[in-house]
Symmetry: none
Subunit: 195 residues, 4 copies
Amino acid sequence: MGDKSTQKKQHILDCAKKVFMEKGYKDVTMKDIVEASEISRGGLYLYYNSTKEIFLDILQMEMQETDDVFSESISEETSATEILMLFLKEQKKELLRKKNNLTLAIYEFFLANKISKKENPLKKQFDEAVYFLNRLIETGVESGEFYCEDTEGAARNIMYVLEGLKITAKTIGISEENVDKELLYIVQGLVIEEE
Amino acid sequence: MGDKSTQKKQHILDCAKKVFMEKGYKDVTMKDIVEASEISRGGLYLYYNSTKEIFLDILQMEMQETDDVFSESISEETSATEILMLFLKEQKKELLRKKNNLTLAIYEFFLANKISKKENPLKKQFDEAVYFLNRLIETGVESGEFYCEDTEGAARNIMYVLEGLKITAKTIGISEENVDKELLYIVQGLVIEEE
Amino acid sequence: MGDKSTQKKQHILDCAKKVFMEKGYKDVTMKDIVEASEISRGGLYLYYNSTKEIFLDILQMEMQETDDVFSESISEETSATEILMLFLKEQKKELLRKKNNLTLAIYEFFLANKISKKENPLKKQFDEAVYFLNRLIETGVESGEFYCEDTEGAARNIMYVLEGLKITAKTIGISEENVDKELLYIVQGLVIEEE
Amino acid sequence: MGDKSTQKKQHILDCAKKVFMEKGYKDVTMKDIVEASEISRGGLYLYYNSTKEIFLDILQMEMQETDDVFSESISEETSATEILMLFLKEQKKELLRKKNNLTLAIYEFFLANKISKKENPLKKQFDEAVYFLNRLIETGVESGEFYCEDTEGAARNIMYVLEGLKITAKTIGISEENVDKELLYIVQGLVIEEE
DNA sequence: CATGAATGAGAGTTCATTCAT
DNA sequence: GATGAATGAACTCTCATTCAT
């Protein structure tokens, strides 16, 4: 029973996610999701009562996947610089991807819904990224790859820059060239250049 | 008279601005603006045909005011450091202000409407700020206050950080303490500390 | 079930027909039909998106009924003269009927909507009537009842006269006496009078 | 004074006529006429309170012009056949003209507004045409050009056929060829062919 | 559980008509 | 007289939400 219900919910989330990726958050109606999931109008209401509920569940799903990415990358035995580069490259890819991207919907959602800090998955994700970067930079400093006096400050700074790039990409638009420039600026601020 | 029409438009913009500050962009209906400006349904349509038109006019109004701020501050005969501090302080105030703030509406608007780069007032504002900061940093470097090898890179970087702080404030929420930390980080990256 | 939907559509068409008979075509709003059929605003839109769609369906319904009239009348074993008289009598009845009459709506509709010739049900009906009359006159000529050199010409002429009477009835108004006169004129042009 | 007012009214009628020729009757709004005549909204209401009033005045204007046509044509010293041909040719031209044509508007108007018989200008025009044709046919019969036992019946019949052609042209559409066929049919019914 | 027809509130938009200037 | 801004009623259409089956 519970299993079947979970499957159905999963199906709804998968279909709804596609809709949110296409239309952002605010323009999505229950009707859209009904149509995308080929479920009955009433049927959908058995599982979810609003697009908000659905979106929150999608978000939770997403966050879990992201978590895994971090833990994987750090487990490898590569240099801090390499991991940093990989991380930034991943961020860049995400940043420039136009389709199959929830960023727009996420921004629209969190701009419209004030979620209490404790439950805010975006905050959780942000803090985790800061924590990850902090550890990474510490590692880099220890290994002599990086120079940094305030590792946590640097970590936060990187995250804010990335946020800035992300929102700029969605509102103003940004060229790959400008993303590269900015990421390079970050790296140069950390890495000790060899002579 | 053309003047009377302009006055009325101004009245509409003023009232509508309040609405946008309260509700963001997407949730605002023509009816909301009709009620806020206390004119008739049909009356509003004499001047504007959509919330989008109204919002774009409000934006133009805002941008002009912002322009003035830049030109004023730089005209003064103060040190680069002081101007930078003033600029960041201003940004901080804007960042933390909850009410009387169009940021939310602006984000919602530009997330939902892809405006061609050339006409995008947000881009114009961003670029102008970068230009202003770049000149400011150059001045500071010349006067020996700042150390910076890539002034334009630094200027852009500051702007992305500020964007990051702004969107974070609106989506995750941010404490004054964290803003201060971040602004301090920026300043420390530039200013040569005296011993 | 498809059946239930069809029933509902039929109900809408029946109610809408009454409205069109009363108000013609152009003055009828979706609201009128909503009220007449006692369903909800949104409910109507489940079946039809405009008065035009509804009217076209009503028309199709009507045309089918008319078809049947022709086929019935001709199947009988009566003289051509008798069938012609029956046909004209039917037309006269239609012509003079004030209520329960779609003529006005039909005229308004086809004056306002240019329908491609191929799909124009009015044309179809006209052509079928010409065809029917042509065959009827041929039969009459063969049986020695009628005199006519150009049977198709006569058939078309009758139809144009009937159209003329119909539109005159709706715009200028026409007395039963004048209709009789005109129909008599038609008959006299065909029938060979015995001495 | 009165003169100036008459001029203004004439201006309104001229402009409104163009609008009615383009859009028919029912779709024309006071706004349309205001725009076409480049007069103020309130100004128009000083002279006319509805499109109906305006249309009726246009109609009166038109009818007067038509009257003249009849009186002219008959005054000439040409044969009845020639005058009939001229008359039909004129009707045909009118029939097939797509633009600069009030027919559509007239039909829409008289379908929507029941005008008392005595004041109905359409009826007046119809009756005058019957009277004219009747006299013409009588003349033709006297001169031996035509054969006709019931001249008034023939006159009425021609008018109904013409009405039929006119409404058919506007609703179903009609080819020039078909008009010719029908007019020929009329003429052949009257004219005595020489051997 | 599941369906989808039905409801009705509410957004957008247009225009006849009025009225202060 | 003449203007045109302003009003508000009315129409179209969409969707969240419910409920009988």
